[in-house]
């Protein structure tokens, strides 16, 4: 099973592309978050990292399926 995670803002710079496709299986948003924090420790320093599933803010307990549209949205400061 493979997921497609769309990246926004500084997560593009941290992960190094505009899309991230992990091969592991994640039951929930929380599992995906853990995987991301372990693979890219800098993401944890954002303190806030919104994970959206099918265009909705997703809490960590939300179940994931490989057809879901997942996005990582970090805080942005520029003005």
């Amino acid at each position: 099973m493979s997921y497609t995670v769309l990246l926004f803002g500084v997560t593009k710079d941290i992960i190094g592309s505009s899309v991230y496709c992990p091969n592991d299986e994640f039951y929930t948003v929380g599992h995906l978050r853990e995987h991301l924090y372990q693979s890219f420790p800098l993401l944890q320093k954002l303190n806030s990292l919104m994970i959206a599933v099918n265009m909705n803010y997703a809490e960590d307990h939300i179940m994931l399926s490989s057809t879901d549209e997942i996005a990582l949205i970090p805080p942005v400061s520029g003005g």
Binding site: V10, L46, N47, M55, Y57, P74, V76, S77, G78, G79
Partner: protein, 364 residues
């Protein structure tokens, strides 16, 4: 209330807008915090469209590297106060509008008072500390605020705290660690991007005031200008973020009263040429003054600054000067701890001043 029908004719003509919405705009007040990349288009359009009272808040001065995106300002205004120049320019665009000029930074001390004067707040700032401070103050005062932020080629827009809707903390509970997310100064920004995002913010302000359309409440709009992709993400209000009663978060603790700012010799020379009211304090020792000094500076050696702090006015900007900018930094911290609102450290001290501004001074 009567108004200038000719000026606003083209938007009054709009179906679903009309005179009623125009009157709502003319009777409303909006505070724009930050008169930079986002603030410039927000201010220009809100002024043009006829918001009755507009607060312009920015403590910064115009730099040459602002001009590619902050297109309200002119090359011969480099070094001048953004808030003052913006108000001068905008008054000419629309004399119907009443402007309040805040040439200062939003701090824990002034946030509640200033924000309480306006109906809608627009967050056009460039740092997380002020964004969290704006959020918390708006939650306490029950004011809606229109958020915009940019990163490289991308922007975000939302409306927070509107009619019981979600707040900034519902989306992003806490600020990132320093340095993880760089700002435009470090990361670069294409001139047009803040123009686009600022226009979306101005559009949301009008919708909130006039009561037309769908407001971006509980929704985050993201715009990627490289591929023209727009997305709208939905999120929910969280009760715990709506119960803020005091400004005391660690997210903006350094904005408790004021922050230490650096000023280069050239920037200081520009301010002095504009006759800005600055208190120049030279904290070197008496024997060092023999070599060189800046004429208008008052001499208070570093070791005496704590005792003689009463000789200075805490409400007016102070510039501290020493040989290389190290002792003056310590003096800055001392004054900030005493509640001074605006304290500058002269970068590189009188040594750099002598090299860059006044070659007649003797180096030592």
């Amino acid at each position: 209330m009567d108004f200038n029908r000719e000026r606003y004719n083209r938007q009054v003509l709009l179906k679903d807008f009309g005179e009623q919405a125009q009157l709502k705009l003319l009777n409303s007040s909006v505070l724009v915090i930050g008169a930079g990349g986002l603030g410039v288009p927000v201010l220009q359009y809100l002024t043009g469209m006829g918001v009755g009272k507009i607060g312009v808040m920015d403590h910064d001065t115009i730099s040459e590297n602002n001009l590619h995106r902050q297109v309200l300002y002119a090359t011969d205004e480099i070094g001048s106060s953004k808030a003052r120049v913006a108000v001068e320019r905008l008054k000419r665009l629309n004399p119907d509008v009443e402007f309040l000029c805040f040439n200062e930074q939003l701090t824990v001390n002034n946030a509640l008072l200033i924000i309480s004067l306006f109906d809608v707040i627009v967050d056009c700032t460039d740092n997380f500390q002020t964004r969290y401070l704006i959020n918390d103050a708006c939650v306490i005062l029950n004011k809606p605020f229109v958020y915009g932020a940019i990163h490289q080629y991308e922007g975000q827009v939302s409306v927070f705290n509107y009619q019981g809707g979600a707040t900034y903390r519902c989306l992003f509970p806490a600020a990132p660690e320093n340095g993880v997310v760089a700002d435009c100064n470090a990361n670069g920004v294409l001139g047009v991007l803040p123009g686009i995002i600022g226009c979306y913010q101005a559009n949301e302000v009008v919708k909130v005031i006039a009561g037309i359309g769908e407001v971006l409440t509980n929704k985050l709009l993201t715009i990627d200008t490289l591929n023209n992709k727009q997305s709208v993400f939905k999120f929910q209000p969280k009760q715990e973020n709506q119960n803020i009663t005091q400004l005391r978060s660690d997210d903006y603790k350094t904005l408790c009263s004021s922050t230490l700012m650096s000023i280069t010799p050239l920037e200081l020379a520009q301010k002095l040429a504009l006759n800005e009211a600055l208190q120049l304090i030279d904290v070197r020792e008496q024997y060092e003054l023999v070599y060189c000094e800046i004429e208008s500076a008052v001499h208070i050696p570093l070791r005496e600054i704590r005792m003689r702090v009463g000789e200075l006015d805490p409400m007016n900007p102070v510039v501290l000067i020493c040989h290389h900018g190290i002792r003056s930094r310590i003096a800055c911290e001392e004054l900030l701890s005493k509640g001074f609102t605006t304290v500058y450290n002269l970068e590189g001290g009188i040594d750099r001043w002598a090299r860059e501004v006044d070659n007649s001074l003797q180096l030592y």
